[in-house]
Symmetry: D2
Subunit: 355 residues, 4 copies
């Protein structure tokens, strides 16, 4: 137990079974026997009013037992992390993911601070090139831009699709910036992987396991946004889906969670950055544009992201936000973009990072 | 242990301390020694990678130890319910609370279904009497009505105060209906207890511990609304505050919790009824008016409350909702009130209750 | 405007633009001009401190204007429902969806109450048949059962896939019960549609727009679970995605939303039933098993669902919950299932429905 | 209208009434007439399918009309901020609050960064003095410490009360640090105001309006923590309750909100800082200790608070966290406290503030 003979990561897991006050000896023995039948070990602690059973062994087998359904069982606690490949426990050094073609790769990791910018949606060659040039001038080293857009309404602009990917490729040629773009359907993964340097999984697809597995096999780094309603544990399990298909080049992106507060589109969970860093080796960046949904919040939230220790930020920029087809109200330009550029130059060295 | 020698309720509690994988023998011994110093017992289970320590003894003493802060400790789980006097564990029969003067007491408990109705706010003698007569005609046996109103804005109508209590007393004389009314300040408890048959603690005061203790000493039954953001455990702890001052005549009232859903004012947590009934002996009723905040939802939600097994409902009625000073949009009258009256007559017998 | 010349549904929409206190005449004129350029109408109301502009015309065009980004604009309110095909506004009679082969179709709609039951996951032919027979004996007329299971962990049981579909088909032959089963990947829609009578979209795929569009073209009815973090409006927009591809045979299923309350897996939003019925013509059922995640809550919550006016319930049953591979703790059997069968026979006639 | 003749602040407010598609002329006229009867103005905009009425006048009068209850009315939107005295609209310069006796006042406001530290609870003279000296050595200029503790359990340590206030006064004499301490009951306001330099309202009392009014009359500055489930608007309304009694020396404190994420005690809503600063003139600080509830998050979250533009931070420190009677797991000491001291010295100048 705990010794992998197959090359995959295996390790002992622990659960605690709390028996109800009146649980009988037979009920206790039943739990113990079933645990041992799966190859696990059971340690029984008898208290004055209650018995507690500690389990050591394979967590998945224990789940199959339905311990909670057994007579006399009151509660069951899981102890170890449910994720393996993305856990810091088994990979104590924080990872750096490299994005882009050999020779001009952009690192995202613990020593640097990476600035990603671009338009929310690719609308035309002209608009994309202008946005990319704005981004580059402000210090960005990766270009974001959406060709496939998941939209709440079937009547809203859904993106240019393949045409958008081609525009992004062309703009990369001109600017030299590697490209991050979203994929929303497992059937599109090959074509997106052909054009993009990094594939983004959006917040609405955090539980789309088929898509996660597909990008796990695509051979390119993945930018995995947090589901707007995912716990941090669920988000890391989504990363585990990608990793489990062999792709460990995953960068996490905190982008706000759904709460009761209406003054921002979502609530940026800034604590997620140090919480993730305490439990996973994957890099983590922050998206202040989609979290707040308001242009006036982007610069202060980006500053907070740098100070809290994020490995990068990703922001929307647009040459003409009033005519943007998607999320214009949060796109930066002019003085706000200059303020962001300044923050990205000045603050990271204060927290021990190269820009 | 578990045997009270002082007249207060004491019983064995259990916690589980999970040590980190690399915890040393000294760290384990330190935990054990500190637990034993408080008079508790510690049971050590050694697994392959980890040690688990089960504790039996007084939970409050264990809290004082700050187990989570000790070297080598990874996590601490509490097992028993934190509430005592309101727990079903120590009082396995469900309670009935009787409201009103001797001779015409109204029961709220497991065998009956109690219908409470009245205006959100007492505005005038005339309006209160009319609302009370509407309520009585529809089958209500208790009158609700607010004299002290907690309002989000300091500029909104705050209630008639003492004058409102006097109106309620007069209307009780005329209609014979005992009165439930809210108290919002510990300093007002004596005067409210003098006039009312049951004191209501509103959703905003679920964490106002001084007020909870004050009504614990008032000698009248208490209607304890759930905090709109209280977990069920916190709500039962609030009831424990009342009970701990000697007042066990507490009726719980589910009135909706704050969630991300905007189409209702709050989300009625209908599951709270059977969840509470599985863990506490206190009666529980439902307020469909304040949960939804919409007149068209009151009747269907009241039906759901009866069917799920609640011990009663409390609803807003008003003779002239358009001119109501408070929460007019949810007050029942006319056809809706007749539909509710019919549901309250017909459904409770289907789930084994007298009306 | 409001007159469709193309056969698709079009109708006037209204928005309200609130100008900031100091907005200039030019800014007001700019808004008005841009609205009129899209073919809309703008009505200007000048107050003492502020100007308000009411818009009538095509909502999608107005969205393209990015009104919120314009100088002088403080806020923008949308008035009409954003969904069209599923809206009660354009289809004032509530719909009935028929599931199953011609000759033995099962209706789900406003006049009946439909009981759907079966195992959470198809584990074997034997277990599925036994569960189906339990379900049928209890009064169920449709069989649920999962062949493709979306699981949070890549290491958990993922379902039998095609083999599971074949088992379900065989069990339909024996029992005569039409089948509802989940599809999790757009690539699987054809094979699932070949075997199943109704395709289920699970809570995690409520924002998987490619999958929604795929089932919109599958030719079979769709059971659309609410995203555990979807607002009712977002859920109806997901239904609109299906409908917009030509499939109006959509049944909604409330299954609990994510809240702060930990005592239930999710919080059943029972109010969603009357709220949906006030705004959409689609049938709506309730899943009390997945909402609470606890066997002891299934029967009371199912009773509440009937009483609130749902068109049906869907519950997990299992012949041997202790050995279930998925969600055993919530599966009904024995006395609980008999209690549910009784509720499903007795309560619907009380609220004007045939069983 | 908008001209106060009484010395209180009055100004024009605006609402928008949306009539239902089939509203009759009489219904429209009824709304208009009622509005005009209250002294307001109504502007009617007739669209193709719907009529919109814009209102200008006194918002509270309009609330009294119950517009939503009127026949033909579909929806009502409020436009202006509901708070007045704390609004930036009427007081465009950001305020500085001064805490402490004349001659050694500590400012909290837009030009400085204020570091407040101390023990969660006053446990003894010795512990309080040691914590105060730790705080001062780390750069704190105000001392926090709780004498009255609101606790979820009636069986938990409730604070030393008056004895605790005396200890705080003594420690102020020794260290020179002005004192911030919580008051939980309106009856205690005079005695707390006599000893403390600033009165804290805790998260559980954000809706305890009697207490808010009491501190509004106490003559000392108030530190108003956000209710863990208050929207920003509700929080500002709570501040308005204090201000409306004549006390404008209110400092807001963001301390985390309740969300679905379990890895932190609450979710620090870092966006609240710029959101509040865009709408209110009151100073705002951040409490990273109570937000996260974890010592390892305090320093990164404090850094984020500085970078986002907060006017200060308040943190728990303790000379011996393992033996703390309250919230030991989040109290700083040793290396963490030194890291915080360094951040508080170095970062504020980067965002334009004096320490």
């Amino acid at each position: 137990m705990g010794v992998s003979t197959t090359g995959t990561v295996l390790y002992p897991r622990t659960m605690v079974v709390v028996m109800a006050p009146g649980a009988t000896e037979e009920e206790i023995a039943h739990v113990t026997r079933r645990v041992e039948e799966t190859g696990g070990q059971a340690f029984v602690s008898r208290g004055v009013t209650r018995t507690i059973i500690g389990l050591v062994g394979d967590l998945e087998s224990f789940h199959g037992l339905n311990l909670r359904s057994m007579a006399g069982v009151q509660d069951v606690y899981r102890i170890s992390d449910p994720y393996k490949l993305v856990s810091l426990q088994h990979h104590p050094e924080r990872s750096t993911v490299h994005v882009g073609p050999a020779g001009r790769q952009v690192p995202i990791g613990p020593e640097t601070f990476t600035f990603i910018a671009g338009p929310c949606a690719v609308e035309s060659a002209q608009q994309t090139l202008e946005a990319a040039e704005m981004a580059k001038a402000a210090g960005a080293t990766l270009l974001r831009g959406g060709a496939f857009k998941p939209r709440t309404s079937p009547y809203a602009f859904q993106g240019l699709g393949l045409k958008g990917l081609e525009i992004l490729s062309d703009v990369r040629e001109v600017t030299g910036l590697p490209i991050v773009t979203e994929v929303v359907d497992a059937r599109d993964v090959p074509v997106v992987a052909e054009h993009a340097d990094m594939l983004q999984i959006g917040t609405r697809n955090a539980g789309n396991f088929g898509l996660l597995q597909a990008v796990g096999e695509c051979g390119k780094p993945v930018l995995l946004k947090r589901g707007m309603t995912s716990t941090i544990e669920e988000w890391l399990m989504a990363a585990e889906y990608v990793a489990q298909r062999g792709n460990l080049d995953v960068v996490l992106c905190e982008r706000g969670i759904r709460t009761f507060e209406p003054s921002t589109r979502n609530t940026l969970d800034i604590s997620a950055v140090p919480v993730v860093q305490a439990t996973s080796h994957l890099p983590i960046i922050v998206d202040p544009s989609h979290a707040g949904g308001r242009r006036d919040l982007v610069v202060p939230l980006a500053r907070a992201a740098i100070a809290v220790g994020a490995d990068g930020v990703i922001v929307d920029v647009h040459p003409d936000p009033e005519h943007a087809l998607c999320d214009g109200p949060q796109a930066l330009f002019g003085a706000d973009l200059r303020a962001l550029a300044q923050a990205v130059r000045q603050l990271p060295p204060m927290v021990g990072r190269r820009v």
